[in-house]
Subunit: 381 residues, 2 copies
């Protein structure tokens, strides 16, 4: 050992206890509880990130993501970050400085898209609606016709409001006005009907910790040939190295060119989560989410509680429940957490204090969870 | 269920088997094998990312990172990505367009810093040396004096070459020439003596999958007050939302403002990995890495093999072994993997085909692993 070393400062050598966390039922906006099989997969010993065993896992993850998203896009991969990283990946790769980008803002994540797109030099037009509403084809067409953007960005499933944006016809509009269609599917992937190719979506992203019932830490990303063509036409490098899909594609593609070290354990977990979707089948999974959501909505009505979003546009994976007059939303959330170990937080932004957010996502979308929550709500209200 | 839904395409609903991977001894450049206690922590059920139980974990992770890095920097956090994301975070936050940045390039990761810095609009000066050598104070001072950069970026532990950059005096130079000192500590953190504050390092990053014996997926990051002052003086937003430390700091700081959803399970794992370092103590851990590296070097010499880096500047966590004449490096790596389940890949870039890279990192730095590898090498050579 080098004798010239300074002495070690022990200030931050803190005493800690073995990990112990409360057993929570996570019925909020995410993360949802991971499926037990997913947690088991997580602790599988590591292999190298260029090991042939891992390359096989990468291929399976890519195929299963294509199934869940209903896309045949070659470039369909999990980004090595959380949902926000994949959101940024869509924008970083698609935007060139000066591009006009229309963002539908009817909740928190629309605002985030506006912030991010601005950082990549986009000329951003925010099409705003009250939180909880969705956009109609007419107003979308009017905006595309007026602004002629390079990209239209919409949020399919707004985690902050519980609204589900109807997508039929939007892709056709985007082709008519020659713009790319970018879609946030964080709270819909694996829980809510989603047909990327059928809908003409060019770029999409998601997270693992919602309806896939996998821990947070990876973020599904996909782009089609139309989007790749725009990427290939760029005059300079993507101004973000980690999320540069021309590099990431070489790592996940047949070349396997080293880019970064993929999160091995999280890919084990995502593979298992996607296997569970494939075993159940998308139609059955979507139907299960609907059945349990309807049970929740009926139970809430019986308690005299109403939902914030019109039933026609309501997500089955996330319900925003209006806080009754004279009730302190935060106090109720705290009691539900403390007394029942159930997470059911309140709203954000425009909806702060006005709603609670109830997620029935993936593994958590079960009849007994609905009943447990309704009983708890009945007792504390 | 909506009757207007398209029918589901089953093409990518592939059949898969339960996860099964070979048991590898990962003695390459990383990932290294995760400690069994770390794998156990990984499968702990999730709590919410703003749950008070998780906030306590975040605080412990931050303190333990300060210990391992020997820094008292308030802004010391794991970035929710892999080491390359944290590398990019240091540059994205510190560089403003037009800033001059000097990068010491004596291996693969120096080149990566050059690429990334350019994407953030830096005027990059690459100070180049043959791979495996290190920079002396005189040449660093000559460069700082000539170019007067805003930032000097060096790689403490070059994973591609096995060289350890001496840091004594570099921080003083950087203060004399009024520039920030940015340091890559990916392959040194938790294995090789590292004194960030003592050395006057202003920004640093690392990975979890090397000497911390945690899976890849998080990336330690730290910046001190000097670096934060430069960040606060920026004229515009950081051109990277996910890695904008002014936002990330609010999430990890006392405000706990939502930014993104932290990878809960990976933070459980990192906490356990850091607890293991604190239990062992830094001095003992560094001494263990040295002892096992010296055993390896001696054993290699007995086999007639030589190391690429001068012993004075050789990393104890990663050794580059020269491939003897008339030996096919790749063929040997493949045999070692296939016949012994040991990962020991070859070099990159300038050193491709010329060296093997042997990592003895964290949990893997054990006498029996050295012996296992030496026996395997003896048999295949």
């Amino acid at each position: 050992m080098d004798l010239n070393l300074p002495s070690v400062n022990e200030t931050y050598r803190i005493n800690t206890q073995p990990l112990s966390v409360p057993q929570r039922l996570l019925l909020g906006p995410g993360p949802s509880n991971a499926h037990p099989r997913v947690l088991e997969a997580l602790r599988t010993p590591l292999v190298g990130h260029l090991d042939s065993a891992f390359l096989g896992i990468m291929n399976e993850v890519q195929d299963l993501l294509r199934y869940v998203w209903q896309t045949s896009n070659l470039l369909t991969v999990p980004i090595s970050g959380t949902g926000s990283a994949a959101m940024e990946a869509t924008l970083a790769n698609a935007i060139e400085t000066g591009d006009k980008v229309v963002v539908g803002v009817n909740g928190y994540f629309g605002n985030r898209l506006v912030d991010m797109a601005g950082r990549y030099g986009a000329d951003v037009v925010a099409l705003r609606k009250p939180w909880g509403q969705v956009f109609g084809l007419e107003e979308l067409e009017a905006t595309l016709s007026k602004h002629r953007p390079a990209i239209l960005a919409l949020v399919h499933a707004e985690t902050s409001t519980g609204a589900c944006q109807p997508m039929e016809g939007v892709g056709t509009l985007c082709r008519k006005y020659d713009c790319l269609l970018l879609l946030d599917t964080v709270t819909s992937l694996g829980g809510v009907p989603l047909f990327l190719d059928e809908w003409g979506v060019d770029l999409a992203y998601s997270g693992t910790q919602k309806c896939l019932s996998c821990p947070p830490g990876l973020a599904p990303f996909t782009m089609n040939e139309r989007a790749i063509e725009k990427l290939n036409r760029r005059s300079g490098k993507v101004p973000n190295w980690y999320l540069d899909m021309s590099l990431v594609a070489s790592y996940w593609g047949s070349e396997r060119t080293y880019h970064h070290t993929a999160p091995i354990s999280m890919n084990y977990a995502l593979r298992e989560a996607l296997r569970l979707v494939a075993e159940e089948g998308l139609e059955a999974r979507w139907a299960r989410h609907r059945k349990n959501a309807e049970k929740l909505w009926k139970g809430l009505a019986n308690l005299g509680l109403s939902c914030h979003v019109d039933e026609a546009f309501r997500l089955t994976s996330l319900t925003t429940v209006r806080v009754p007059k004279n009730v302190d939303a935060k106090h109720i959330s705290q009691r539900i957490l403390r007394e029942y170990n159930i997470e059911m937080p309140g709203g954000l932004g425009e909806l702060a204090g006005k709603v609670w957010r109830v997620g029935l996502m993936g593994y958590n979308s079960r009849s007994e969870n609905v009943q447990t929550l309704l009983n708890a709500l009945k007792n504390v209200l």
